[in-house]
């Protein structure tokens, strides 16, 4: 390959940022891309890849330096997620719980909670999951029903969570519950808990994780499970932010969501980059009607549109990350990046599949996996319908007359 496809040029990155990203790309090229096909076909947890990422220190990307992390800026973080997702979006899903819950503890946790969890999260020794969604509450987070009622120094949790990615292997759950079910509006009665459990155990106290995990179209290799709480007891010190954190859970979780949206946008970027790489290679290798298909104008139009969408996604993601990093609210920008980059990813996966013709539909070709992995991005971390609402609401508030 002559010039690297999807380089880091044009983003105004520092040498440090480039070095980090190049190291991750090197890892993805050598350790993920050659193995992902079999791992995904077997729906196997990529232990060796995860160990490699731990050794590289990647679990601590966003954890502050004083707690043993790298304290990387959001731009590097976002582009790093894109690189991982270029290899396999499930791998970015595996590290994602770490970033969300780690970020919540770093921002809202008590000093004791930071000391207790952050160093182990940074090293990857402790893995995390993030659990808001319930069978009857997804987009509408205010509709959750799970309760935690106080009994002395303990909280007793009852209810069911759904779609908890990393839920089985995690040793720590960032859990949204209602501590005051009578509150009006309901979000004022919500609290975030840091629930510790034995990683890998299907039954701990009053918590059951039904097996097997949920069956999915894509996003294989990382488990998404239900969590069933039936009188499960945790110490009251599990409340994120200590006693003052009671009733703050909804707001604490939402504050991390902009970063979460940038994360999903970056995953879209990664998949789109890979789909494009495969497409531009195949377009030159495959011939039809006496010339490489890349010489047919309709295929060229696809390549041009894909690359343009990828470049635009990248710029939107970097702009949102810079804005958020600078301390401003970036709800509109993060929403735009998430909406645009994930739709581009979906289109790129489809166009790349079309360029691959019948082979693109074959399980033997990588593009088929990308095609199955993209739809989740349209749904997770706020569906794209919800993103439009957020963007519009933000704009109307910013430009109110």
């Amino acid at each position: 390959m002559k010039e690297r496809i999807c380089s880091f040029d044009g983003l105004d990155l520092s040498d440090d940022q480039r070095d980090v990203l190049e190291a991750i790309r090197g890892f993805v090229d050598a350790e993920i891309l050659p193995t992902v096909h079999q791992l995904e076909a077997d729906d196997e947890f990529p232990q060796k890849i995860v160990d490699g990422l731990r050794d590289m220190g990647l679990f601590g990307m966003r954890i502050p330096v004083e707690y043993g992390g790298l304290g990387l800026d959001l731009v590097t973080y976002a582009l790093a997620i894109a690189e991982l997702s270029r290899g396999w979006t499930s791998v970015s899903g595996i590290v994602n719980g770490q970033y969300i819950v780690g970020g919540m503890i770093a921002t809202h946790g008590t000093e004791e909670q930071k000391q207790r969890f952050l160093p182990r999260l940074a090293s990857g020794e402790l893995r995390c999951c993030f659990s808001m969604t319930e069978p009857d509450a997804g987009s509408d987070v205010r509709a959750i029903r799970m309760t935690a009622r106080r009994e002395g120094d303990e909280l007793v949790i009852d209810g069911q969570k759904m779609w908890v990615t990393n839920g089985l292997r995690a040793g720590l759950i960032g859990l949204l519950v209602k501590t005051d079910p009578t509150a009006d509006p309901p979000q004022k009665g919500m609290t975030a808990l840091l629930v510790e459990k034995e990683a890998g155990q299907e039954q701990v106290g009053g918590l059951t994780i039904p097996m097997p995990p949920l069956k999915k179209l894509g996003y294989k290799g990382v488990e998404s499970v239900e969590l069933v709480f039936d009188g499960h007891r945790v110490p009251a010190s599990a409340i994120l932010g200590g006693p003052d954190g009671e009733g703050q859970g909804f707001y604490q979780m939402m504050s991390g969501i902009e970063t979460g949206r940038i994360n999903v946008a970056a995953r879209g970027l990664g998949i789109a980059m890979r789909a494009f790489e495969l497409a531009i290679r195949y377009a030159q290798e495959r011939s039809a009607f006496g010339k490489p298909i890349g010489q047919h104008q309709l295929i060229q139009a696809k390549l041009a549109d894909m690359a343009t969408g990828i470049e635009a996604s990248r710029q939107l993601i970097v702009a949102a990350a810079r804005k958020k990093q600078a301390g401003g609210r970036a709800d509109v920008e993060a929403g735009m990046a998430k909406l645009f980059a994930t739709e581009v990813a979906q289109r790129c996966a489809e166009e790349s599949m079309r360029i691959h013709g019948g082979y693109g539909y074959s399980r033997e070709y990588e593009i088929e996996r990308l095609y199955r992995d993209t739809p989740l991005l349209l749904i997770g971390e706020g569906t794209n319908e919800i993103q439009r609402l957020i963007i519009a609401r933000g704009l109307l508030a910013r430009h109110a007359v």
Partner: protein, 260 residues
Amino acid sequence: MKIAICVKEVPDPTAEKRIDPGTNRLVRTGENTLNPYDRHAIEEAVRIKESGVETEISIVLVGPASAARTVDKALAQGGDRSVHLADDGLADSDILATSRALAALLERDAYDLVLFGQQASDAECYVMAAAVAERLDRPCVSQAASLTLDGSTLRVKRQVETGYDTVEMPLPAVVSVSDAINEPRYPSLPAIMGAKRKPHEVLSLADAGIDPDTVGGAGSRTTVRGLSKPAGRGASVRIEDDGTAAEKILAFLVENKVVV
């Protein structure tokens, strides 16, 4: 134990090599990086250090000032400090001149062991270690497939066409390691970010006490007189499988002494 690793900055090995038709030299204006073979030498030094031997690992590089990023890549891979000879007077150095500059740098500190990668991915000469060892008047082994330290003796298993030689040599010594000696680790992100904060020594020719007439174009004896494509491969033998392909392939390999 002081170990020096001589590393080279090369054009990105995944990019296609281009020759400037005017100068007959390799075009080096694209993306440059650490010679991948040198990573094996660094890894081996790190393993010696991790085995419990107190070790300081120095990265030694002769190359333009812009090679500072390559120095950092090598440090991220496992060096403790760097010595970078960067001087415009070094431009156009050939092996003779570069080995002189490297030897001068290596004589400034008393290194017990000098390691090289087996070759550079740009010029593919395989001889720099031997040239430097000659100038330093030190024993030299190439293609090391394993290193074992025993006090001030180094035991080297050396890969040769028919198997392995085991060579013992006193330190100080010069060794070029084969790319089969180890699997270099991925530098950790903290190591990448910490590389810049390690001690860097950047020297001019004058700082290093090197006579400018002995290096660069003036100190070189190589002229490229012509370039040609390598001869194509000989005619290939095509074996159709009629049920006896395996025997035919074996017979071919025996006949050509590939297997005995």
